[in-house]
Structures are given as C-alpha cells and as structure tokens.
Amino acid sequence: MYALKTLLKQYRRFVITSFGIALCVVLMLFLLAIYKGVADGSVRYISDSDADLWVLQKYSSNILRGTSLIPINQGNIIKEIPGVSIIAPVLFFSANINMPGVMGTVHLTGYDITTGKGGPPEIYKGNSLTADSQIILDRAFATKYKIGLNDKIPIKDDTLVVTGLSSGTNMFVYQYAFITLKKAHSLVGFPGIVSCFQVKLEEGADKVKIAESIRSRLPNAAVFDRDTFLQNNIHEMESGFLPMLFVIAVIGAIVLTALLSLILSVYILEQRQDYAIIKALGAPAGFIPGTVVRIALILTTSGMTIAILLFFPLIKIVEKVTPEVAAVTSPGQIMTVLAGLLIISLISSLFPILKLRHIYPLELFK
C-alpha cells in the first residue's frame, strides 16, 4: 500500500519511469525475437525437411557456411543400399541479383522437382516450381525489393520468372531462393556436382546401419543423421553474429539494472524523512527494504505491461520497413524477460537498501 501510494504521489515521474523501463524491455524483447526469428529461419530448411540422413562432402558439417561438392553420380551408389527410399540431390550456391531497384544476394538452392525433396519448407504465396525458367523467392526478400509473382529476375545470364514466395527461408543476412537442379547446374557451369544428398529411408530401416553403409561405400562423404546435422547448423548459425544480439540484450538488462538502482536511490533520497519517521514509529526491520523492493517490482511490472502493449505493433512496423528482419516471439521469451525483470528488480534494490542504513530516526529531532 505504502509503496504504491508513494509512487502515485508523483504520478508523472511514475509514468515516465515506467515508459523508460518499457523501452528497455521492448529492446530486449525485440532482440530476443530477432534472435529466434533468424535462428529459426536459418535452420528451418533443415528442421522441416523429412530427410533421415544428410550426405555431404567429407569434412563438411553444415550447409550455412563452407562448401560441399559431391559428384551427382554418387547418388546412384546410395540408392542401391537396401532401406533407402528417396535420394534428393541439392546444390547450394550464392548468387547476386542485379536489376533496377534490386541489389541483393540469395542462397540459390537447386533441387529435383520430380521428387520435390530439398525444396522450400513452405510456399507462402504462388506455386511450386514446374519448369527450369522459374524461381521461388523468400517472401522477405521479395517484400523488401517489391518483387511479386510473375516478375522476371536476372541471375547471371539467365532470366527467371517468380512463380512462388517461400517462408521459413530467411537467414536475415541473406535469403534462400529455389530453382530446379538442372537450372542450377546450368548457372554454375558444372553439371556433375551437388552440395548434398538428402536421404529418405524406408519405414523401419536401420538409420545407423545405412549411414555406416554409405560411409563405407563413399569414403569421401560425411554422413549425418537429421538431429546431428541440425545441431551442426545451429552451432554454425550461433557462431555468427547472433550471439551479439544476445550480448546487446544482456547489456540492455545491465543498463536497466543500473538505471533502476539510480531511480530507487533518488526515491530514497527524497523520501528520507518519511523513512526516518517510519523507523522512529517502530516499523519492523524488513518494512522499509520491503517497500524499496515493492517499488522496484511495481515499476518493472508497469514497464513490462507498457512494453507488451508497444512491442507487437512495433514489430509489425519494423517488419514492414525492413522485411528481412524476421522476428519470432514466443510465450517462453516473454516469460524469460519477465523472470529477468524480477531479478533486475531485486538486484537494483540492493544498493538503495544499503543506503537505508544511514537514515536515522534522530534526524527528526531538531
């Protein structure tokens, strides 16, 4: 009661402080959402794939960074292994798109359209590929450069027609684009290679045994089960700039702790006489420190509430302005930030509580 009434007594300051906290919280939520969006977008191609095994060139471990080149005819060897159902050869390479109003790089992915394996996780708009002259772009890329369905895109010496827009293919730094494997070979100039084989096994097949079999028949190949391959790519993704987002979020939290501690110290300074009165009147030892903590909790709770109200509209605005920024928010993130705020409230209260020791009831007797 006393804590809330103290804050409401200076209503304007309470509102301004809450807004300040809200902006810090929005920053943290935003960074975490970007982190998750980029993380998801970077590996969704793999996590959504139903391939049981991934076969790459030896010493390659992921498809995000690094080069993997395997002769396409090695797919025939894999196909002969009992238990193997479908082989999907996929070729990855980066390509620049240069046209009026567009100067970007895409992670071109050539896949076999007869099996459909190795293609986009989800077609957001339009259709799948049916011809070599077609391309599927990531929706964020398309939105950013105002490219729509049926638009023509120049890649190297070729021109491709946009037949579909995909989602789950945004890696923030650049985005996937999908073409047929045949077109990919023609653009690269090497028809006999692929980056990997995505291997789908028959029902009940022994994944471990088949992986061993592939390794023994293809000594220059690296074979990964789905989970291991996913982890490799997550590890690769996390070793990039993403940890920086997390660090910035943590710095934001530290700054908020320091600011809140300062605000609470100012409150104590201003309420000095009140606290001396309360001490003189026989308040229990924990009352005033408890009041300081309650003030901190009220401020962070009101800040969090405002942040939630601001965050979602802000994200919509950011995604409109910079479509390649893919933000994904989950209840878990919000709970994490809430828990973080709780800890921040407690830590920021420590220093101001120490100052309370230097407030004496004798100050009231002049």
């Binding site: 009661m1 006393y2 009434k5 103290t6 409401l8 007594k9 006489q273 009140d274 009165i277 309360i278 003189a280 009147l281 026989g282 308040a283 229990p284 030892a285 009352f287 009831p361 004798l362 009231l364 007797f365 002049k366």
Partner: protein, 233 residues
C-alpha cells in the same frame, strides 16, 4: 511505601557528542524517573539537553555513561527487534514539525503505525476513528497532510501517537509550530489523556506556559537538571 511503577528512568546518564571541533556534553549525570499518569515537562533553552534526554528516554540513542531503564528493563538489554516493538506498541511520538507522511492520507498515517503495533485492520480503523472524533478531525480522514493547517496536522500527529495505546508519549516541542491557543489545546488534550488513560507524557519545550499543565517541570541548562518542580500533586 509502595514502589511507584516507572515507565522510564535515567540513572546518572551522561551523553557526550564527538564532533570534528571537539566534544559536546549534552547531558551530565542526570537522573530522572517518569511514571504513569503524569505529564513531565523538560524546560530549557536550545542546547540545554532536552531533546537528548527525550531521545535517550525513548531508546533512540544510548547514553555515553549511566543507565537507562525502559519499562523496567535496562536499555542495553533490549535487542533491536525488541526496541522496534517497544516503539511500535508502547511509545508514541509527537514532533515539532509534525512528521506526517505526505503520500498517505490522514487515516493511512494513523493506520500505518497501528499496523506496526500489530492491530487488526478493523480494530485499527475503529480506534483511529475514535481518536479522530475526540480530536475533532474526523472530517479530515481522507485528506492529505499538505492540505491541512498546522493545528490540524498536529492533531493528526497526536492521534497517531495515542491510537496504539502507547504508555509513553514523547513530545519534542509539540507547540513550537503552532499558535498559542492551538498549542495549549494540544497540551491540554495530552494532559487529559494522561489522567484518563494512565499514560506518561514527556514534553520537551522552551515554552513556559506548558508548565500550567505539567505535574513536574525539570529545568535543564547545559545538560544538567537545575531545578525540579513538582507542580501538581
């Protein structure tokens, strides 16, 4: 002869303050006892040691030498939580500058101390209203201290000091910020409270007119009791 129950007793108490310029002796071997149902006035000019005596009596500071007994127990034997309990339940304070909490209403100012004293909400409210009625400030219950006159503020402070049923009331210059008539009304109220409720009221003041209401007057000068006048028997 039956022994008088004491509320507080100072025995050869000396208080010396150490400052950068040297030492100041605020009290020098003073001995005094205060009992229920009496109003004791500590009279003297500024710097005579009145406030020091008050604060030692209330357990807010310890003497440099001598013994202090509060409700029959040596001050040094009280633990911090025990002293806090004593101040919440058995001692009431009235300050020259009223010392009301601005962010709380008049009612909440009184309910706060009653909460410290362990009163249940309903009982606290009932007692608070009772004292507001006696002090004729019931209409100000929802008001905030900044909107009150000096006299009204001091009456709220008196309500706060008495509502918990405190046996010892410590009043430091309670009339210092008030007009004469208002001040004397406050002291008169305290006097009646002494007689009807058996409280002990100790007032520190330089206002000689309060002597008219006191059972005993202790004249202090330079930390020494120079004269001890029992006024009323």
């Amino acid at each position: 002869m039956p022994e008088t129950i004491q509320i507080a007793e100072l025995v050869n108490v000396t208080k010396i303050y150490s400052r950068s310029g040297g030492e100041t002796t605020a009290l020098s071997e003073v001995s005094v006892k205060v009992c229920p149902s009496e109003l004791v006035l500590l009279l003297g000019p500024s710097g005579s040691g009145k406030t020091t005596m008050l604060t030692i009596m209330a357990g807010l500071q310890k003497p440099t030498a001598g013994n202090v007994f509060l409700f029959g127990k040596r001050l040094q034997e009280f633990s911090k939580p025990e002293l806090q309990q004593i101040r919440a339940n058995r001692i009431g304070f009235i300050f020259q500058t009223f010392c009301l909490i601005d962010s709380l209403s008049v009612l909440d100012n009184v309910l706060l101390v009653m909460k410290f004293a362990g009163f249940a909400k309903d009982e606290a409210l009932q007692r608070a209203v009772e004292f507001f009625e006696r002090l004729e400030i019931k209409h100000l219950m929802r008001a905030f201290p900044q909107t009150l006159s000096q006299g009204e503020k001091q009456r709220v402070a008196v309500a706060r000091a008495l509502a918990t049923g405190a046996e010892l009331i410590i009043a430091d210059e309670p009339t210092g910020s008030l007009a004469t008539q208002q001040g004397m009304l406050i002291v008169d109220f305290l006097r009646k409270s002494c007689q009807s409720e058996g409280r002990c009221v100790v007032i520190a003041s330089h206002d000689e007119r309060i002597s008219n209401f006191a059972d005993r007057v202790l004249h202090l000068r330079d930390g020494i009791i120079q004269l001890h006048n029992p006024i009323l028997s």
